[in-house]
Subunit: 97 residues, 2 copies
């Protein structure tokens, strides 16, 4: 499995709108086992995204899906930047659908 | 929802044993929506644990479950320390069982 833990920073006041777009974009993604969007209680602009995919290739290809491309296009103007990013190799647990 | 992203450092050579204990300990935890164990491809001793709970209270109470207490007792001698730790407020996504 292939995992990502990443922090996204919204432009001031845009976090809720950005979260909504991210949630809409996670519908049908082949190979996606977990994709959880969270806000950061210590930073009003920060979003944490934790992902698990069967393979890195499936993650990479998901970025070309029309629904994901559309979400990226709508999200981009609301993104200030990115914070921490960690690649992981998930091995198991609860919630890998 | 209540979320945690945390890095655990195993004693040298003990990561696989520690991961196995962590995986066994995640069976029946009321309020646990996601609990994913991952290794870090850049650090042979590091483990990432990402968790989502209905409430922080359910997370806190899980630490008193007999199975979790037993896992903690077996895991403790294999743990060198802890790295990054982020509390999050999950709002949705894929894989929240």
């Amino acid at each position: 499995m292939y995992g990502l833990i990443g922090k996204m920073i919204a432009k001031p006041g845009q976090r809720d709108a950005l979260v909504a777009i991210l949630l809409e974009g996670t519908g049908e993604m082949p190979g996606c086992l977990s994709y959880i969007i969270a806000t950061d209680p210590t930073d009003a602009n920060a979003i944490w995204i934790t992902e698990v995919w069967d393979t890195q290739d499936q993650h990479d290809r998901s970025l070309q899906l029309p629904a994901v491309q559309a979400a990226i296009a709508r999200a981009r103007p609301l993104i200030e930047g990115f914070g921490e990013r960690f690649v992981t190799e998930p091995v198991g647990g609860v919630g890998l659908s």
